[in-house]
Amino acid sequence: MSKIIKNGQIVEDAWQVVKLAEGETADAVTFGANQLLPLAVWQARKDEILALGAPIGVWLDSAEGPEAIAGDLAHFAVVAVNFPKFADGRGYSTARLLRERYGYTGELRAIGDVLHDQLFFMKRCGFDAYAVRADKDIAAALAGLNDFSETYQAAVDQPQPLFRRRAA
């Protein structure tokens, strides 16, 4: 078990990220409990996975758009979005689209190069779980969720921009 931040708390977590090695196809995966499966595996073996009857988790890489799973969201207990490098910001758009356009309400987890100083932005874009990079101090990173007490823009955590609330 490793630790993640979920809903603002540090908790034990059983989900394992399954990755396909170079050249490996979806057939290579042996299913087990609490697996976060690559999009390719979900797409290739959807019926098998559904037949297992267990909670399902899927992860999107930074180049994989949310459109690919938009119709499947009701099946997922966890959707994770990978940040291969923290400076790759595509996952922020992915997260907003999952929440705001496709109505996903389950756990949305940031995985990969997930660090203290990006958590605030991730939270704003709709993430509620963060697999902080293993070599970092997760307790210290927790503070990153609350770097700012106000926000100008509309986003997932605060759908009203400041100017609509300021005026009130």
Binding site: F86, A87, G89, R90, R124, S149, T151, P161, F163
Partner: protein, 566 residues
């Protein structure tokens, strides 16, 4: 000008605390240099050739006198008593200490200033016309629009890690003075046929390695849709802009790859989902912000001040300065004054602490306590009474701020170059100074009239050389400094990219080459022609021929604009 409320102030204070923590973690070893890098860049901190450089944000170039005094104070206490104004209307400090940067940001916060998003792959400082609010040719004051954009872009959660930097400029005047066509997004404030106000949106412009003129992606966008449309546009860029090659990551590459029609279509498609959502700008908010830019308490004055007219008639030096530095104003009896930071022997755009204090005093005494930084790296006092011009000139002259060269050949835009900047291929300031020395006769400069000469020390093009009548670009050939020359660029409504005239020159040759180009103009001009007009009539050949005349130049120079086909 816009003044912070308690929320704006709190956000800036929290930013200082956040940054202080990041630097502390870096010094403690829990935040690596690579991890800190994008974070410090988004607070304006570069690590340069000799140490750090801090770029301080001056939103749309507007400063209050007390803010400039604070910059003077900071430059004295934390730097070498000098600041440098940039082409994004910001200020750079070239010698701060890394460990002291949190203190500097703390100081800035006390006067409603910061260094947020002055670098990094995010939305940068919004720029606009330095004569905003006073220019006779403007449709409306663009500054409230800029402030709306400043707040929207500040800590935008979705767009903090874009493929590359993103620059937005706004123009509301008949003549574009904000180079909007050379920006990632350029916004031209216009009215539609029914009189509604909004913007024409240009996208995909930019200088840098692959200079491109921006293209219209939307002819008219009503004001209330400004933010949702930009959210959609940025989202398309964030998702689909290239991230595999930093030289191909700007939005211009995406726009060109898709074609502007397809890019615009994708933006419209994305926008349809968020249009009319909560981020739709309200009239109430726009008016709240616009109220901060209400005109100051102008006096009722005659359109022409007799004493001023007499002074112009009787004082040749003053008259020369008035001709170049004083511009008409919306309000009778007032004028806008440009103070030149392009004196001989000074790095273009540099301003000393003493000069900063002096300019702040001038602003307080003569211009309602405000001033503007121009993208040409000068300073504007926008609201000076005609009858005060002589005194302003006298005081500015005493500070070396009244060189009568605005818009002339020696009013060069110039980046800090290889003397300071780690990115530079070559030095730029010594070239500017050598050109200045060669053209030190003010009467001759006035006779030459409007010529823009811009210098960049590398193809990042901070010196805007692509849009200069004469552009000079530092290139590196086998670890030697060489300079490529372009001719025929211009900014404004007819923004044009200059053309490379051929193989590059050594530093020593550059002033002679400039002289050769100028001579072609002088020998061929008609009475009413500016340099650019003569160039457009004659074409590049006579300029090219003269520039290389008597120079035994083998075709060795690799063209620095090698990606022009992208």
């Amino acid at each position: 000008m816009y003044r912070y409320d308690s929320i704006d102030q709190q956000l800036i204070n929290e930013r200082v605390a956040q940054y202080r923590g990041q630097i502390a973690r870096n010094l403690a070893g829990t935040l690596s240099d690579d991890e800190l890098r994008p974070l410090r860049l988004q607070n304006g901190l570069y690590i340069q050739r000799h140490g750090p450089m801090l770029r301080i944000a001056i939103p749309y170039g507007l400063l209050a006198a007390d803010q400039l005094r604070k910059l003077a104070d900071i430059s004295r206490r934390y730097d070498k008593s000098v600041g440098h104004f940039t082409t994004r209307q910001n200020m750079q400090l070239n010698w701060p200490k890394f460990e002291e940067t949190p203190e500097i940001l703390g100081e800035l916060a006390t006067v409603e200033m910061h260094a947020i998003q002055t670098s990094g792959n995010c939305i940068r400082n919004i720029t606009t016309d330095p004569f905003a609010g006073v220019a006779p040719d403007e449709l409306t004051d663009p500054r409230p629009w800029c402030e709306v954009l400043r707040q929207w872009s500040t800590f935008h959660p979705e767009f903090a890690f874009l493929p590359r930097k993103f620059k937005i400029a706004v123009n509301a005047a008949a003549e574009d003075r904000a180079v909007i066509r050379a920006h990632d997004v350029g916004l031209e404030i216009v009215t539609n046929e029914s009189g509604e106000i909004g913007v024409r949106v240009f996208a995909g412009g930019g200088m840098g390695r692959t200079p491109v003129i921006g293209k219209v992606v939307r002819e008219f966008l009503p004001r209330q849709h400004l933010l949702t449309y930009l959210d959609a546009l940025l989202r398309v860029y964030n998702r689909y802009g290239r991230r595999d090659n930093m030289y191909k990551a700007r939005i211009k590459i995406l726009v060109n790859a898709l074609g502007v029609e397809e890019f615009a279509r994708q933006v419209e498609e994305e926008w349809a989902f968020i249009k009319d959502g909560p981020a739709t700008l309200t009239d109430g908010e726009f008016n709240r912000i616009a109220a901060h830019f209400a005109p100051p308490a102008y006096e009722s004055l005659p359109a022409n001040d007799t004493a001023f007219d007499e002074a112009v008639a009787g004082n040749k030096a003053f008259a020369a300065w008035v001709k170049r530095s004083v511009r008409p104003h919306k309000v009778p009896g007032y004028a806008a004054v440009t103070l030149s930071l392009k004196a001989a022997g000074v790095a273009p755009g540099d301003i000393s602490d003493v000069q900063m204090d002096a300019v702040a005093d001038l602003a307080d005494r003569f211009s309602f306590g405000e001033l503007r930084v121009t993208h040409e790296q000068n300073v504007v006092l926008a609201d000076v009474r005609q009858r005060d011009l002589l005194e302003v000139w006298t005081l500015a002259r005493a500070q070396g701020l009244a060189t009568a060269n605005i818009g002339l050949l020696t009013d060069m835009i110039c980046c800090p170059g290889g003397d300071l900047c780690a990115l530079a291929n070559a030095r730029s300031v010594p070239i500017a100074q050598a050109i200045h020395q060669k053209f030190d006769d003010l009467d001759y400069l006035h006779d030459l009239g409007d010529i823009s000469l811009n210098i960049s020390g590398c193809m990042n093009s901070c010196g805007h050389h692509h849009v200069a009548n004469i552009g000079v670009l530092g290139v590196d050939k086998n670890n030697e400094e060489w300079y490529q020359v372009t001719v025929g660029g211009q900014q404004g409504n007819a923004t044009t990219l200059g053309k490379v005239i051929g193989p590059s020159f050594s530093a020593e040759e550059v002033p002679d080459v400039v002289e050769a180009l100028v001579n072609v103009y002088v020998e061929n001009r008609t009475d009413s022609e500016r340099f650019i007009d003569t160039f457009q009539r004659l074409g590049i050949e006579p300029f090219k021929e003269r520039a290389y005349q008597g120079r035994d130049r083998k075709k060795t120079a690799k063209q620095a604009t090698g990606e022009a086909n992208v």
